[in-house]
Point group: C2
Chain length 318, copies 2
């Protein structure tokens, strides 16, 4: 267990992942209420909204209002998602956001073709364009993303060699523009990963790129989220995306209704109980999880919000 | 990952764990329907009911009718729980059951005192009596049980040294009666375990008792069930209790309403995807999980029953 990190960084994605996928309209002030509460937990990075077409994704039509409405707390980075130039322009105009670009690849060519009408090669040309656009605007880029890194509902299994190759390509794209990619996010976008596979893929990337900080974006659709996070921790991964109460899912991935992102408070609980710091107040986070459930109006998948932490039980123990 | 076992044995406890805790009455024929369906999945051990006082646990008042009503399948061991001599007599009288005794200890003296009004020492005297009663009846005993092995809502943390000591005591009790204890079940009765702790406790027992086959009974109340199972697998544990759809909970443990036992189909999914055999047909098991949900009439916590397995997606992949 010597590889477990001492401290883990968690990026909260609940407000973006979660409110995007909810069917019913959620009032802007309630989204803001959750983001403001999350800001008080010790979380330092919160993805709060998505600048996408409000006609296609009605749940995100209030992106600007959300950004304008939150009570920003010093030390907290408020982030947003965008999928194209227009979205990026909106994010810049909104202000208040911590903007970072990334070089984004998808390990499933079928997924790329079905959802974006792109091949691997055309996606690489596109990545060069996107990177140029970030650099022209002075936006920091240090991260690569590989989505569908562990498997794809459209394509099936994804060999580790494909992911390794994409990591090389990502670094090459960066180099071509004088950008050093120092962080890599591996996303299990459609919940194909197992703990053993996390170890294999992370291990093979570490071997080839020992200088790269690896982050994991895990989905819990098949119940493997926390186990996969543990496997990541055992490989020394110290950066995770997560979603309070397990808010969210994946609209593209043929399993609507199933659980989405790995749950923040369950991940924080595991870290703390194993002696790993997160800088997050678990009790406050559990309150946020219950608030999230109240806001969406239906049960959310996280466990610790029902099972409770252990701190109070330890205090009462006799 | 060299310690992962090639084959894992799973004991299904859903019908007993689950129907015991449900508030509403569940018709006997529906319990039987689930047990019969589980018998067709390849599962070889099913705990089907509990011979407890039907006035205190109304959900189990039909224990005899359940045993009499099932369609027994050759190769499947139908098991039951009892808590005292009277329960054992009823199980014997019911017939059809695979009866095995065990030497049962609890790692929390507070839990023992609160729930059974016994100290560690009086519990040991009691264990001798129980063992004599099994032997007098010709009932096989080869297993030790340690409940609350990873922590207790009443007592707090449980040191590994306490568990180690109880394992010694269990083997001593067996030896005193000429009984070799070759298997040890560690139960995380109140869901305090983390993966790191599973490794520590299992590792320290393995070091002292390398001949003992270790089994895990895990609860998912705080979302750690599958991660804890993975940690067990990495320590070479090849025997698990689990509950279809995550049926169940723990009425004694101060967290009613939260998830109970680790979910069988999620565990089977993880094993298969990591190349570990279970002998269980995952698709049939998922059907049983959906049936269990229909029988109890409310959502149950398992993930794979909603997220789906990967076999069909692999077949459809293009």
């Amino acid at each position: 267990m010597s590889d477990l990190p001492r401290k883990v960084h968690i990026r909260e994605e609940g407000p973006r992942e979660g409110f995007q996928i909810e069917k019913g309209p959620i009032a802007t002030h309630r989204k803001i209420e959750l983001i403001d509460a999350l800001s008080e937990t010790g979380i330092t990075h919160i993805q709060i909204t998505s600048f996408v077409d409000g006609r296609r994704v009605p749940g995100m039509a209030d992106a600007e209002a959300v950004v304008a409405g939150i009570r920003t707390r010093p030390g907290v980075h408020y982030e947003a998602l965008w999928l194209n130039e227009k979205g990026l322009e909106r994010a810049i105009t909104a202000g208040r956001l911590h903007l970072e670009g990334n070089i984004s690849m998808c390990a499933s060519e079928t997924f790329l073709r079905v959802n974006y009408n792109r091949s691997f090669e055309s996606n690489i040309s596109y990545a060069h364009q996107v990177l140029q656009s970030y650099l022209a605007r002075g936006i920091l880029v240090r991260r690569g993303h590989v989505s569908a890194a562990f498997g794809c509902n459209y394509q099936g299994d994804v060999p580790a060699a494909v992911v390794l190759d994409l990591v090389d390509r990502i670094r090459d794209i960066g180099s071509a523009h004088g950008v050093a990619i120092t962080e890599l996010l591996l996303a299990d976008s459609m919940a194909w990963a197992t703990p053993a596979q996390i170890k294999r893929v992370v291990g093979s990337i570490r071997e080839r790129h020992p200088d790269l900080r690896i982050a994991l974006h895990l989905h819990d659709t098949r119940g493997m989220g926390i186990a996969n996070a543990y496997a990541g921790l055992e490989m020394g991964v110290d950066s995770f995306d997560a979603s309070v109460a397990g808010l969210g899912g994946c609209p593209f991935a043929r399993h609507q209704g199933a659980a989405g992102n790995v749950c923040t408070e369950d991940l924080v609980f595991m870290c703390h109980e194993m002696g790993i710091e997160t800088g997050i107040d678990l009790d406050r986070l559990i309150e946020c999880a219950r608030q999230a459930e109240d806001i969406v109006g239906h049960p959310l998948p996280g466990s610790v919000k029902s099972g409770g932490g252990l701190a109070a039980l330890r205090r009462q123990a006799h």
